[in-house]
Amino acid sequence: MADFIQLSINGLALGSVYALAAIGFVIVYSATGVVNFASGQFVMLGTFAGVAMLINGGLPWPVGYVGALAAMALFGALFFLVVYLPLRSSPVVTIIIGTVAVGIALQNAAQLTFGSWPFRLQSPFEGMTIEIAGAVITVHAVAVVVGTGILIGLLWLLLHRTTIGIGMRAVAQDVKAARLMGLRVNGLLAFSWVLAALLAGIAGLMLGPMWFADVNMGDPIALKAFAATIIGGFGSLPGAIAGGLFVGLTEVLGASYLSSAYKDLIAFGAMIAFLLVRPQGIFGERIQDRG
């Protein structure tokens, strides 16, 4: 039982990271229609922004985290300006291929800069543990789960209670009508990319202390986040959260109760099953026609 509690919390923590990556993916997809194949590399970049600030820069963690996230926000804005904006009037597939290109470039740039030797990014709660019913749990894992919960709450408030958030939803539903209503469509689209990069950055900083910071970590994350969105429902935010948590839980529990060789089997098996039986996922997309 103690084992199960410990593994579940660790699974939820990993699932939280997948959920954040998946949310970033969904925000960009619903606002722009672009499937961001670089989303895993966005998370990798977040981890390495942390490496640059905390290990290379030697900054204390509050400053380093803020610096890393500022760099990620800047990266999101740059991505919008350099990749999305010049390509926005070409077919959406062109932009998708653009994201693939950026993903490859990022991975190789990281390899050139940081080398292929993995780093160990320390948590602010390094070495701290708490005990629940005999299970020893790292404070970092708890902080990740709680932090993700708070972030999701803030995100909900942003999307439903602020002018910018309601505008983002409007642009996602009907760009032409949004323009007629006087919304600054380009500004809102840029904000979507910045938000996605920020969420990926937070996911990367959370993931650093759980895995090793390795320049090739982006691909498995992208695959897991992708599986999460398919299981939860493509384009659905609650789906991204549920799917992310599911993938994280099955990965950790599967590794321990089945075999670590088969840990990915459950998540990807579930994804294939969903594609066959319920392709709209758990939550589906209510608005079929994006106009």
């Binding site: 505008g167 409007a170 007629l180 209503m181 006087g182 209510r286 608005i287």
Partner: protein
């Protein structure tokens, strides 16, 4: 207030409007009638900045709109309730309404007053204020589209086929509201295939055929015109 001078608009090689001249004066309701494909919607979309002008000019309150992007035209006072309503299906009625002016609203301009005015005009929207757009009936969606345009505190209201797809009784209800809005002093340019309804509320009208203005005049004269009677009123 609004003048289109010799306006030509083309989609690629296909010319949709051939040198169209129309004028809307402050306070009047002008109807733009014509068959499907005559270029009515194209004209409204061009006034809102969604289509590129090939030649000619649109002048709004004595300044040219040529270089002004569509999202800024709303701020100048041109509000458009588009064809097919295009309300935001996943936003509530209240979100749909409050969104329209949000980007440039000042704290001093209370959104509640504007919402109240729209709800007075369309009480049904008030009942449904927390419902999502897609769950409204066609008539309610049209009322929401008009209400959303009014929230922008426009100087001119562009309405594109407000009767489209509505049962006759509902279409009449929508037009009663349009009439009230016009009587309150709003300048309105309405595009409509339902000529009877449009000419009943309009002061003046233009008849558009294959991208050209073929007839213009006071609404009461157009109603008597033999060509209009034959082609559009069916008698």
């Amino acid at each position: 207030m609004l003048t289109c001078n010799d306006l030509t608009v083309a989609y690629g090689d296909i010319v949709a409007l051939h040198g169209v001249n129309i004028t809307v004066k402050a306070g009047e309701t002008v109807a733009l009638i014509g068959a499907n494909g005559a270029g009515k919607t194209t004209l409204l979309q061009t006034i809102s900045g969604l289509n590129k002008v090939k030649s000619g000019d649109i002048v709004f309150e004595s300044s040219s709109l040529a270089t002004i992007p569509s999202e800024r035209r709303v701020r100048l006072g041109i509000a458009h309730a588009p064809e097919g309503r295009r309300i935001f299906p996943g936003l509530t009625v209240e979100e749909n309404l409050s969104l329209a002016t949000a980007p440039w609203r000042r704290w001093s301009q209370s959104i509640a007053d504007d919402l109240g005015r729209v709800f007075d005009l369309f009480p049904r929207l008030k009942e449904r204020r927390r419902q999502l757009g897609w769950s409204l009936s066609g008539g309610e969606q049209q009322m929401l589209a008009i209400g959303r345009a009014l929230m922008a505190r426009p100087r001119i209201l562009l309405l594109d086929e407000p009767s489209l797809g509505l049962a006759p009784r509902l279409a009449e209800e929508v037009y009663e509201r349009v009439k009230l809005i016009g009587e309150a002093g709003m300048t309105i340019l309405v595009v409509e295939q339902n000529t009877v309804l449009a000419l009943a509320v309009a002061n003046r009208g233009y008849v558009l055929e294959t991208g050209r203005v073929v007839l213009e005049g006071a609404a009461k004269d157009l109603k008597q015109n033999s060509r209009v009677r034959e082609a559009y009123l069916g008698r």
